[in-house]
């Protein structure tokens, strides 16, 4: 076995929750539903739970095996190799897109004069370092970062309580139904469907039989926090929410406690960057491990640096501008992610069921 580390159920739950939070809160894909974004996000979470059930079922059916190994067992050597390669390309490109999201965020809000290559390079370095240390280190980092994140969000929300305007939620459900359903589907795909990458992580749980409750509780915790933040943003910004590229970030600019405690958006930026780092680390680890398993190598660690640098390079040439990035997320991504996030795992589960795999003995 290439990876010998084991993670506990609590660690896996925190990992899934933290992964969901990374980058989705930055862009708020359900934002196209306007003031009904919270409702669209809730529908998205329900849709995501459906995907998660399929992923967890796959992990429980093939305990200790990653998607690469499952594909080979279910589809055979040649077809399984092709399926795994497609999935790896998706993981790799997804990582580069998350990197692009953070690059745009940093360039637009914090470091506008710094060259993009410098930002992505120094962004990807800690991910490379952590991914090389293995799944146990990633899990511990995720645990610590998620606790910090909850603390930051709680403090900021408490400071913003007086500015929450509940009339911003009214009138309720005025978004046209197709648009609302599409917004729900977009948020179901980004970030909930992306948890398909945990098919490379969850097999290393100390008790893979508990994958389903662990995965679902992680998804629920991350999803509920995401819904709360989307609702908080709508309550603070109202109808002007869709005008901002990063509404959750801009909404925390409203914190002002007696002109002393203000400009606290930096705390939001730090928490976004923390979770972005974590999400990119999980994806980089998944890609490197998948690459090693696909080509039957003894170790995944040598591939972390070249794959990390390649991710950084691709993130530089993903989109012309932030608006193109947003267009991709809101319009193309739900269809782009469909084969990798839904069709591939469901097909693997169906074929395994028909062929009565895994065979005992």
């Amino acid at each position: 076995m290439i990876e010998k580390g084991k993670i506990s159920e609590v660690q896996a739950t925190f990992m899934v929750a933290g992964f969901i939070f990374g980058s989705a809160v930055l862009i708020t894909p359900a934002g196209i539903a306007g003031r009904d974004a919270w409702f669209a996000e809730t529908l998205g979470l329900i849709e995501g739970m459906g995907f998660a059930l399929a992923y967890a079922q796959l992990v429980q059916r093939f305990p200790g095996k990653t998607l690469m190994e499952i594909n080979e067992e279910v589809f055979g050597k040649v077809f399984g190799f092709m399926m795994s390669l497609f999935f790896l390309v998706y993981l790799f490109h997804l990582n580069s897109m998350i990197d692009t999201n953070y690059l745009d965020f940093i360039k637009l809000t914090i470091l506008p004069a710094t060259p993009a290559a410098i930002v992505v390079f120094f962004g990807v370095l800690p991910c490379i370092y952590t991914a090389k240390r293995g799944v146990e280190v990633i899990a511990r980092v995720g645990q610590i970062l998620f606790i910090m994140l909850v603390l930051f969000i709680s403090v900021l929300t408490m400071l913003l309580v007086t500015k929450l305007d509940f009339s911003n939620l009214k009138p309720f459900l005025t978004t046209p139904l197709p648009k609302l359903l599409w917004a729900a589907h977009v948020s179901g795909n980004f970030p909930f469907l992306e948890t398909v990458s945990f098919l490379m992580i969850l097999p290393f749980m100390a008790n893979p039989k508990k994958a389903k409750p662990t995965f679902l509780s992680g998804l629920a915790i991350g999803g509920v926090i995401l819904i709360l933040i989307v609702t908080r943003t709508t309550l603070l910004l109202g109808d002007s929410t869709p005008m901002y590229v990063y509404p959750a970030f801009h909404s925390t600019r409203l914190v002002n406690l007696g002109n002393v405690l203000s400009r606290l958006e930096v705390i939001t930026a730090i928490s976004f960057l923390m979770m972005g780092f974590f999400k990119m680390t999980v994806l980089l680890y998944g890609t490197s491990l998948g690459c090693a398993q696909l080509f039957r190598c003894q170790s995944y660690q040598p591939f972390v640096i070249p794959l990390g640098i390649l991710t950084a390079l691709i993130s530089l040439v993903n989109f012309h501008s932030v608006s193109e990035n947003l267009t991709f997320i809101n319009q193309a991504y739900p269809l782009y992610a469909l084969p990798f996030g839904i069709i591939l795992p469901v097909l693997a589960l169906t074929v395994a069921g028909i062929r009565k795999l895994p065979r005992k003995g």
Partner: protein, 75 residues
């Protein structure tokens, strides 16, 4: 870009002897392909001054062309 190229080169200098000592030829070949790909990309992006086909944008245009209805619901 130079920093990225240097990272790739130094990681190759560190990893190559290790892989040769372990006789991990498959690892060596995959690692070489990834490193060379990285160096080629650095070369292409640097010398074209970012005038390359943007991957995400191209995928978005392709999907929008195949499914025109998403332009209306996704705005």
């Amino acid at each position: 870009m130079a920093l990225m190229a240097l990272t790739l080169i130094f990681s190759a200098l560190i990893e190559f002897p290790r892989m040769i000592a372990r006789k991990a030829w498959k690892e060596l070949s995959v690692f070489s392909v990834l490193t060379i790909l990285g160096l080629i990309l650095i070369f292409l992006i640097s010398f074209s001054n970012y005038d390359v086909p943007f991957i995400g944008s191209s995928i978005a245009r392709l999907i929008q062309g195949m499914f025109p209805f998403i332009k209306h619901v996704g705005q």
